[in-house]
Symmetry: C3
Subunit: 165 residues, 3 copies
């Protein structure tokens, strides 16, 4: 018989993987693959609920509205996982987010035009195991801080991306 704590370590690792996949899909703008990270009835409360959404499709729609434009580039990295298994199929997780978003164009969602955004936040997530696969059923974060400032107009500022090499 396997040690139950090994099962717990494996569950925690599987939960990390779904969060990493979500993040990768977000910054790579891979919206279809991202859908698989959420339950159909998932709920989001980004930025202390300022950007709240009910249902996977609504969450995905919000994210694609905010970051779907290919001139906008983003970095979301999550650290310091504090994952707590609350039953064999449910878990809570806290993560420390660092984000950078560069918007060289017009305003989009909460992003000002021609702006560099940098910030930090703590995520509070809930996860559920469905048919052996962990998914996000609740996600949200509370910012510690966020700074938006105008992008430099210096002609020697050079931005390239996967979408605009």
């Amino acid at each position: 018989v396997s040690d139950p704590r090994l099962e717990q370590l494996l569950d925690i690792e599987a939960i990390k993987q779904v969060k990493y996949r979500y993040i990768r899909c977000l910054d790579c703008k891979e919206w279809e693959e991202m859908a698989d990270c959420f339950t159909e009835d998932a709920v989001s409360a980004y930025d202390s609920g300022a950007h709240a959404a009910k249902g996977r499709d609504t969450i995905l729609g919000f994210l694609e509205d905010a970051l779907g434009r290919t001139d906008i580039v983003s970095l979301h990295q999550v650290h310091n996982p504090e994952i707590e298994l609350t039953s064999s199929t449910t878990a809570k997780g806290r993560w420390y987010l660092e984000d950078t978003v560069i918007n060289p164009g017009e305003a989009a969602a909460a992003l000002r035009a021609h702006t560099l955004l940098q910030g930090a936040a703590f995520y509070e997530d809930e996860y559920v195991k469905v048919d052996g696969q962990w998914k996000i059923c609740h996600t949200g974060y509370q910012r510690t801080w966020e700074m938006q400032e105008p992008l430099s107009d210096d002609p020697e500022r050079h931005l390239r991306s996967r979408w605009h090499p």
Copy 2:
């Protein structure tokens, strides 16, 4: 009988959690909760010993002097844990720190006035297990680099935080 290597993985995970808690308390300015992360006789040697302190209360006092003001916001994120168990109740740990501090006001401790600080460092910590709980008994870091530069005066620079929404 449990595999001793599983015990080691669990100890390493518990050590990570105390470091994550310390970091969260630091950037959330939760000084009371932070106290629980240290032994009473803990020693710090931040920035190659430039900010050295003996005793938990002295360490906490230094950190609160440096970052306690609510107009100052910070991000400290630690990565690449190289944790080594040196006995069943002692351990060493190396971490790679990234930090950002925004000080829109007057100078404070090692922070210039009206400044954005960005930097990186390698932490060298020591931990001890007391009554089943891992705590930090020695912490310090050596910078690879640090840059401080004036914050933009652009009226379109917008900073908001948990303390000043």
Copy 3:
């Protein structure tokens, strides 16, 4: 008999350690210690193959050309490890890179002169276990984005480093 999944967790942890060591050697400019992270026939394809090299010595030469100057400072941090063991001695790994490079001097390799570089990328690595030690045999990354902009000329910009305190 030990649970094979515990062996897998230990192998994954050992693979993380070689990546962390590589990163630490890169930002600390410790080229000799870095050699031990690679197999002799390792292949690199940094930046979608724009900086490709065959053989450990060629890879190390490229990195030292790019970042060896002590006035250049760098931060490379890798996150979100998705490590997959493909046999008892081979593995694949994906990592999410954040990098910052500050070059206050003349141009070097892909770095413009007097420049701050910030970027993000996804690494795709391959690892092999040789005499009980995991090593990198293939490494490369594809950028999501990279921004280079002129360093501030403000006399109040202060940069210090391990090499130029």
